[in-house]
Symmetry: C2
Subunit: 262 residues, 2 copies
């Protein structure tokens, strides 16, 4: 809260901006302005991670990867032996797959429209994969004796997929966790009967991860070999190519592009 | 589950019906057929309550009252000192008010369209009451510094009210519990942003109460003076007047009508 009010306006918590170009004052993007060669950011926005962590790999813990892993470990608190379905296998969804594996889930079903991303999901711990479509909910229910899976995670931001995640959650105790950010004004439609019969719906912001204490712990698990970050770093380029990096992101080429600022 | 499959068809678990009129076989209504002078019901559908409990008062623990109390105590697990809003003050909603009081909630805001029902709510422990309307969410947020209340309960079955219950739940940890049964095909619309910023939505069937062990406990709390059941028994009539009782229910006259079968 200390940060957020000002961050939305592009200022530091003290109401100033410390960036400029050719004398013109620039605001801070998302409170960090990490696309700048040098930036000033609030001390409370920093987490201290192991000095042995390579920068390129540490970068993905600043948001997407931690969000997904945290959604499974801290928001949903996936139980050992549970069944899990992850809708969307970008960085956040792959994080959910990794978090579910670390939590000891028995079945981890990854759903995506891209075979390439499903391949990534298998690499990170998905025990089954499924091409997404209108029959996804029916297939997941069928494979669980009609009940649905214990934990579902939505990581696409598409409200129709969110609805699938709710409907695929298990009767009596299933938990559907929304990680994606929907378009402005879009609504998630829920059949109340699904709630009454024992499903729960929750959201996860930054995976419920406490940035200053738990991000360093996740980085340790990466360095300890439990999380393969290299597989998630699809392209590396210099800051001059930042617009090309956005193009790659828009056409869903790769999981993450790393900008290296010399 | 042992009961439910057959119950929907109006049969006992063994697939038979034990009721008849003038030689014509009748099915069992809701698995119990409590409108009959004599009925056969599955032993596992019975809970043994204190022999000191008067029948008329015990009746409301069979469904609505236990559902509301249980939603607060067992589904939402309201914490001492918490803020609570209850949408709808029929028997289920009044049960939520009672449950929130028993759980030690500090603020209990009851919302209904009827001043008479709000009067009941105050009697059972509501600390504030509010006539429902389009501004209900804004009022609840305003009275909590803009954040919303810790626990909301919906007990109307109206999907627009369900949406209000979700939107009035507190940012960061608010829990909205749906107790009402919506019309067939009606959808609850949820702004995903509300979930991402930390609200949860759940449903409650029979308040999460374990019928055989916890209904007797609730009856004990009534006999011990913690729950005023007499206030909820608005009319008493004989079985011959059952259709009049339905009319009273449809025009929301009173909380519950008790049928006395001699």
């Amino acid at each position: 809260v200390a940060i957020r009010d000002r961050q939305g306006e592009g200022y530091l918590p003290d109401g100033t901006t410390r960036l400029s170009r050719d004398g013109e004052r620039l605001r801070h993007f998302m409170g960090t302005s990490t696309f700048a060669e040098a930036t000033v950011m609030p001390e409370i926005a920093l987490a201290k991670v192991s000095p042995e962590a390579p920068f390129a790999g540490a970068a993905v813990f600043a948001c997407g990867l931690s969000t997904g892993i945290g959604a499974a470990l801290y928001t949903a608190k996936v139980q050992p032996g549970a069944s899990v379905a992850v809708f969307g296998c970008g960085l956040v969804g792959l994080g959910c797959v990794i978090g579910a594996r670390l939590a000891g889930a028995e079945r981890i079903v990854a759903v995506d429209l891209s075979e390439g991303r499903l391949e990534h999901a298998r690499h990170h711990g998905a025990t089954e994969t499924m091409l997404g479509g209108p029959d996804t909910v029916a297939s997941l229910r069928e494979s669980t004796g009609g009940f649905g899976v214990d934990y579902t995670f939505e990581a696409t931001g598409n409200v129709a997929v969110m609805r699938q995640a709710v409907e695929a959650a298990r009767e009596a105790w299933g938990l559907a966790t929304m990680c994606g950010v929907a378009g402005k004004g879009e609504l998630l439609e829920v059949l109340p009967r699904l709630l009454i019969t024992g499903r729960r719906v929750t959201g996860s912001s930054f995976g419920g991860v406490r940035g200053r204490t738990q991000v360093p712990q996740l980085v340790e698990r990466w360095l300890g070999g439990e999380i393969d970050v290299d597989d998630l770093l699809s392209h590396r380029m210099s800051l001059d190519d930042v617009n090309h990096a956005f193009e790659l992101m828009e056409r869903q080429d790769g999981i993450r592009t790393i900008l290296e600022i010399s």
